[in-house]
């Protein structure tokens, strides 16, 4: 330290063009200036060329009526282009969130199955992972859409399996129908949940103080069910179940999942689950074997060993790479464009095809995808930090 500062003290500091510290800063400043100049030049070039071709360079088009309709949404042709983009964004987010949740559940199960001591389970899981990981996602999506879901029964003779209707137009499931006073009911349910939490906390304190079995879940659940049940009866069924019913070519009631949406969701979740399974498998193997042996020595059974010793440690290893897969899944949802699902990329392309300016629309779309990815990585980082801190 002092030896390096010596030259300064004695005044023999090298001239700036040979001083490494000055040069470092200078190079970085020059680099930034270069990048800035490049972007400025490209942007100027773009705007100049667009003007020369008589294309609009502002964002006013977002308020213009769209003129087209979008499948499976309330979006009408009188709504604006901006609204159309929002509908696309919403579809992307919905399919991504459901995909992430379901792919995680399936991935964890398959990952554990790959380490099973049962030969058949182990090989089946391995077959699933290898088959899916080695096919391009778009091929798999087209296969699901054209060769599987479109080969479901036609709508006229749709297959009705006790409330679940399958056809090549859509998949329908029982769903909740909400009455007008459902808002009050939902508020009461939220209150009941809080009550359940209080009851659970009380049982925990009691357990700590006296050692009697706490039965937190049982007590909390009972508290919730009693309050919610009474409210439901008093408010005269604010929330009920509707079953889809087929009349001619129309299905009323129930929840409708169009085959396009279904194919994309199924494709994304099955595909990404294969990658998550490999992460889970690797993470479990990365937990030192001694941990498992020690819990065995303590007399824990197979399930307990996983639940209390191995998985909590594996989870911490698995979270950062799994987060990457989440982001991948959200970005891959753009492949819905190939199977007529109106997600963000598709809506953007439709708008461009209808004469709206491409540079602005593509720019907006890229920013939105960037925002989704950054948001996901923030969530994963927070989760990661929380878990590692608790473990430390």
């Amino acid at each position: 330290m002092s030896a390096r500062q010596q030259p300064n003290v004695t005044g023999t500091r090298p001239p700036p063009w040979r001083d490494e510290r000055v040069l470092r800063v200078a190079v970085q400043v020059a680099f930034l200036a270069g990048v800035g100049a490049l972007l400025w030049l490209l942007g100027g070039n773009l705007v100049r060329n667009m003007r020369a071709q008589g294309m609009r360079t502002d964002f006013g088009f977002l308020d213009q009526p769209a003129g087209f309709a979008l499948t499976g949404t309330d979006f009408s042709s009188r709504d604006s282009i901006g609204d159309a983009l929002l509908v696309g964004l919403q579809n992307t987010i919905v399919v991504s969130i459901w995909g992430i949740i379901l792919a995680t559940v399936l991935g964890v199960l398959v990952g554990i199955a790959r380490l099973s001591t049962n030969w058949l389970v182990r090989k089946c899981a391995a077959g699933y992972v290898e088959a899916l990981r080695n096919v391009p996602l778009i091929v798999f999506l087209l296969f699901l859409y054209l060769a599987v879901l479109q080969r479901l029964p036609r709508i006229n003779d749709a297959f009705d399996a006790g409330g679940f209707v399958f056809s090549n137009r859509g998949l329908y499931a029982p769903w909740v129908a909400v009455a007008e006073n459902s808002g009050i009911f939902l508020a009461i349910c939220a209150g009941a949940l809080a009550l359940a939490a209080i009851v659970g906390a009380w049982r925990t304190r009691r357990f700590d103080a006296t050692g009697e079995p706490h039965h937190r879940v049982l007590w909390g659940g009972a508290a919730f069910l009693i309050v919610a049940g009474v409210a439901w009866a008093v408010l005269d069924r604010p929330v009920s179940i509707t079953l889809p019913s087929l009349e001619g070519r129309n299905v009323s009631g129930g929840y409708e999942l169009s085959v396009e949406h279904g194919a994309l969701l199924l494709g994304l979740l099955l595909y990404m689950a294969a990658f998550i399974a490999e992460i889970v498998r690797g993470s479990i193997l990365a937990v030192p074997k001694g941990q498992s042996e020690a819990s065995h020595a303590l007399g824990l059974g197979g399930f307990q060993r996983y639940r209390y010793v191995v998985l909590p440690q594996a989870l911490r290893i698995a979270i950062p790479p799994t987060g990457n897969e989440f982001i991948n899944l959200a970005k891959n949802s753009a492949l819905g464009i190939a199977i007529a699902f109106p997600e963000l990329l598709r809506v953007t392309r439709i708008a461009i095809g209808q004469g709206q300016p491409a540079p602005q629309l593509v720019g907006i779309m890229m920013l939105l995808y960037l925002a989704i990815s950054l948001l996901l990585s923030v969530v994963v980082n927070l989760l990661n930090r929380r878990l590692t801190r608790r473990g430390a």
């Binding site: 490494e20 040069l23 470092r24 190079v27 970085q28 020059a30 680099f31 270069g34 990048v35 100049a37 490049l38 030049l41 490209l42 070039n45 060329n49 020369a52 071709q53 008589g54 294309m55 609009r56 003129g67 087209f68 309709a69 979008l70 499948t71 499976g72 042709s77 054209l146 479109q150 080969r151 036609r154 709508i155 090549n168 137009r169 001619g248 070519r249 129309n250 085959v259 396009e260 464009i337 190939a338 199977i339 007529a340 109106p342 598709r346 392309r349 439709i350 461009i352 095809g353 209808q354 004469g355 709206q356 300016p357 491409a358």
Partner: protein, 378 residues
């Protein structure tokens, strides 16, 4: 030290890109790569000096120096623009690409085709990836305006129709309450469908696809009840309907015409010379039909006496009449010899004798009640 070298090299790269951009300026983003266009690029490179010419140089000179026409077409509509199993483009629109190449370059085969989706077509034109777009494109105000396209003239007068399965018993559009209708996105069809159904107060669900192949699969699987598009295109798909699905008779095209769809070649705004060249390459095919000149008898007409038939002599450039279009005086002869007149093109690709069997409708000469009307060639 190594660190510094790395950073300096980082600096060099953008500098090079900057230089490249500056060189490109005059042509207004001419280069944006045409991946499959190898032949054309080489010619460009060989005649680099031409490229440096002032921006005044238009597309016409550029195409002529390149020696090949970049034409944006469809590759999935039989009869109009279709890529055959042998890898050849054929169809009505493709014939007009060839006609433009014959007029501008004297060689109908000097065409580089680019297959475009409905959504990508105008972007490709704006990026100058293609010189002319001939891809069953409907002439509309906003395409003339906002899309900065210039519609040269109409090659095909079409109208939007609705195709349904014959056994569904839809007699007219009004029967199509609560149906699913398939269409291509990024088309005028998509917009007309919405306005017609909304105007008639019909509830329906539009299902829009990126490409005709996926749409066809969906219609085959009865994912949708109706398929709407230009009637000519519907006829093309109906003609090719697989026999095991009932053949063409399994489908019906409803009588109603939902819109006017004048289709024609499009060039980029701001290049009048090129616009005129493309427009007249089309017009001479119509004029030739009116003169009853076709590819088989054009040789005989070349002996015409300018005194006797000045119109034809002027048209064929026999008396060296030059209309000042920047084309050879005898460009019409090239077009007729190598491609044929409008009637020949029509009958070869979509006419009654072909699989499509399209009735000409408005697509016949004005003298016979059609809309084909060539301005005088003088």
């Amino acid at each position: 030290m190594r660190h510094r070298k790395f950073l300096t090299s980082l600096l060099v790269v953008p500098a090079l890109v900057l230089a490249a951009c500056n060189g490109d300026d005059g042509n207004g983003g001419d280069e944006p790569a045409l991946p499959e266009d190898d032949g054309g690029e080489e010619v460009d490179a060989a005649e680099g000096e031409e490229d440096e010419a002032p921006p005044a140089e238009g597309t016409l000179a550029e195409v002529q120096s390149r020696g090949v026409l970049n034409c944006g077409v469809n590759d999935a509509v039989p009869g109009f623009g279709f890529l055959t199993a042998e890898g050849e483009y054929e169809g009505f629109d493709v014939e007009f690409c060839r006609a433009v190449a014959a007029a501008v370059l004297g060689d109908a085969d000097a065409v580089e085709y680019t297959a475009l989706t409905a959504e990508a077509r105008f972007t490709a034109l704006q990026a100058r990836e293609i010189d002319v777009l001939i891809r069953n494109t409907t002439w509309t105000a906003s395409r003339d305006g906002g899309e900065s396209g210039s519609f040269t003239t109409t090659t095909f007068y079409d109208g939007q129709g609705m195709m349904v399965r014959s056994d569904d018993d839809y007699g007219s559009l009004d029967d199509m309450q609560d149906t699913v209708v398939c269409t291509l996105s990024g088309t005028t069809t998509e917009l007309n469908l919405e306005s017609v159904f909304v105007a008639r107060g019909l509830d329906y669900e539009p299902l829009t696809f990126e490409d005709n192949d996926t749409l066809r699969e969906a219609f085959l699987a009865e994912r949708c009840d109706g398929w709407t598009s230009d009637k000519s295109q519907l006829a093309a798909f109906r003609a090719e309907w697989p026999e095991d699905e009932g053949g063409p008779d399994a489908l019906t095209i409803l009588d109603e015409t939902m819109s006017k769809e004048p289709l024609g070649p499009v060039t980029l705004d701001g290049d009048v010379e090129w616009f005129d060249a493309v427009r007249w390459a089309v017009i001479v095919t119509i004029q030739a039909w009116e003169f009853e000149i076709d590819s088989s008898n054009v040789e005989e007409f070349l002996d015409v006496d300018p005194e006797e038939d000045p119109e034809v002599a002027r048209f064929l450039g026999v008396d060296e009449f030059d209309a000042g279009l920047g084309l050879d005086p005898d460009f019409a002869v090239n077009v007729i010899q190598q491609v044929g007149n409008y009637q020949e093109i029509y009958e070869r690709t979509v006419g009654p004798e072909t699989a499509l069997g399209l009735d000409p409708g408005f697509n016949t000469l004005w003298t016979e009640g059609g809309l084909l009307y060539a301005p005088p060639y003088r």
